[in-house]
Amino acid sequence: MSTTYQESGRRTLITPEGVDLRVTLADIGARIGAMTLDLIFIILMFIAALFILIYSGVKTEQWETSLSLLILFAFFLRSFYFTAFEMSRRAATPGKRIMKIRVAARGKPRLSANSVFARNALREIEFFLPLSFLAGSGATGVDGWMSGLGLIWSCIFLFFLLFNKDRLRAGDLIAGTWVVKTPRPILAKDLASADVIGRERFAFTPAQVGAYGVKELHVLEDVLRMRDPETLQDVATRIRNKIGWKASGNEENIDFLNAYYGALRGRLETKLLMGVRRKDKFDTR
């Protein structure tokens, strides 16, 4: 069990109450997307500040104050945009919020401010340093070689994320953090409560209900939630053949599948209460 969920990006997180929450790590794509969005926001904020400065009617005597404010603003934007947002309650920058991911401490519940600071200080070598080498790549001769080597060196940090199983940036490694998914929980309708026209028609024998295990039940659940007519037809036919079910003339596939889902789940859950978890149809318990 543990190996299968390790592979799907899930990690053990045990609460003080002793329950494993099995957090899901954020996808690499989501993280790159979040970073891109944040960079766009940073640039937009800087441009906005520039426009405010230009159009606020600064008098010539005041240009000095406003220019130093602009320099400070640019510095704080670059160095502390991430830090400030990640220290907030949601532990996520706007980009991360949009991608539904957040920063969390590894193995500890509390994400400390120091971690957030360290995590983002490393961004300087992970992201801005390669960028500056890239800017110098136009140079020729020794300078060009130097910046090329520098670029290769700093790309090790840039792509650090791709080469470890916990998807840690160098900053995450130092700060003891990782990035996890925070999907909005949506409670979907219980399929066992679905309206079935003529439920009393569907009386399955124990042998018919006993044809499948948990794995097939979950597949059936996915099929029923997707409600794709072709798949429904296909799955209904297979199940009917397998259990030897004679469909009556006006029987709808969706009704049959819903009824069978309810019956199968009832049977498997009863077994589960007795301590038997029937894995799949090949499991003969």
């Binding site: 997180l13 400070l72 160095s79 401010a113 300087e124 789940r265």
Partner: protein
């Protein structure tokens, strides 16, 4: 829930009975995450942990008895959110700032003393090397100091113009800009110095040596023109703060690099994250020091032209920093342990 619907399965009944609690928890979490904790009534504050524990136990039960995937997925993401909201809550910003200045920062500095000593030694070594090389042959200057930074200060300049730079009143109108520029430039160098420690200390050592060489080169150039005393004042007014800050940034980098290279009995990854905590804290302090240094360099140095006053200010700043960091005190008394903190457990 339509009444005509029969609840045949235990897992169905289980879900229907608890659904309201789950929704209530969801609504409370929405408020907490939006930062509207203050708007919660006392009753809600008490309900939050109760609902959290109820939901957590529902998750355990559902995993063991229910085969409804949607419920399990829902409960997993709901409890994870609640877990972070309840256990991961931060103490207030005000308290954090107070605790940072009262004990977190000086304690981090005391923890870093070995690295600070090493980093100071490297910088001093670089400075001495730069100084003696520069004295022996002025052309070394070009190797140490990047031409953009040197400006008109080079061995080719006349003694008079070198002196003029030290007491220059040029651009007094733009002092604020100058201070802001210096601050942001130096902070970036310091952050880089820290971050580079990650690569087993080596780049940090190089950066510190280069800074030392540059410093030594400057001092050597001025000393060779009998301006040693003057350059000392010019440097020390802000340098005691700025160079100290860079030394500390280097120390924080070395601390991390050391933890990664020699983790001891701990796992490398744990050693790194442990060191990162202290290093991050030290770096937050370094940025504050550089803010002071920027102000002293931008305003103080340009406005104060008396050598002795420059020395005095520099020494006062150094004394303040040293006594703030290194005067021994009992931190355990001052410690606000966040685990025992009321706000921490909501």
């Amino acid at each position: 829930m339509p009444s005509n619907l029969q609840l045949t399965l235990k897992s169905q009944r289980f879900r229907e009975e608890r659904k309201e609690d789950w929704r209530a928890l969801e609504a409370l979490l929405g408020k907490v995450e939006a930062g509207r904790v203050r708007q919660l009534s006392n009753e809600d504050m008490l309900r939050l942990p109760r609902l959290y524990r109820a939901t957590l136990s529902a998750l355990s039960v559902a995993r063991a008895t229910s085969l409804d995937q949607s419920v399990i997925t829902y409960l997993e993401s709901l409890t994870t959110r609640a877990y972070y909201a309840i256990y991961g809550s931060q103490i207030g910003l005000g308290r954090r700032i107070v605790s940072f200045f009262r004990h977190d920062w000086p304690r981090a500095m005391q923890l870093l003393w070995k690295d600070t000593a090493v980093s100071t030694a490297i910088l001093v070594l670089g400075t001495l090397l730069g100084y003696f090389l520069e004295i022996s042959n002025p052309d070394w200057f070009y190797a140490f100091v990047p031409s953009g930074l040197a400006g008109e200060r080079s061995p080719a300049a006349s003694t008079e113009s070198l002196r003029a730079v030290l007491y220059d009143k040029q651009g007094q109108g733009g002092l604020g800009v100058f201070a802001a520029f210096l601050f942001s430039h130096n902070s970036r160098v310091a952050i880089l110095c820290f971050a580079l420690g990650f690569a087993f200390c080596i780049p940090t050592v190089i950066l510190l040596l280069m800074t030392g060489l540059m410093l030594g080169g400057f001092i050597g150039l001025y000393a060779s023109r009998d301006l040693g005393l003057e350059i000392g004042g010019w440097l020390s007014i802000h340098g005691t703060t700025e160079i100290f800050a860079i030394i500390l940034a280097g120390a924080a980098g070395l601390y991390i690099g050391r933890a990664i290279a020699f983790p001891g009995e701990r796992l490398r990854i744990n050693a790194a994250s442990h060191a990162g905590q202290t290093g991050g804290l030290a770096m937050a302090g370094v940025i504050i020091m550089l803010l002071f240094a920027g102000l002293l360099e931008g305003y103080g140095r340009q406005l104060i032209n008396a050598d002795w006053l420059r020395y005095v200010i520099g020494l006062i700043m150094l004394t303040i920093w040293l006594s703030y960091f290194y005067i021994p005190r009992d931190f355990s008394k001052l410690d606000i342990n966040p685990q025992k903190n009321k706000a921490g457990s909501i």
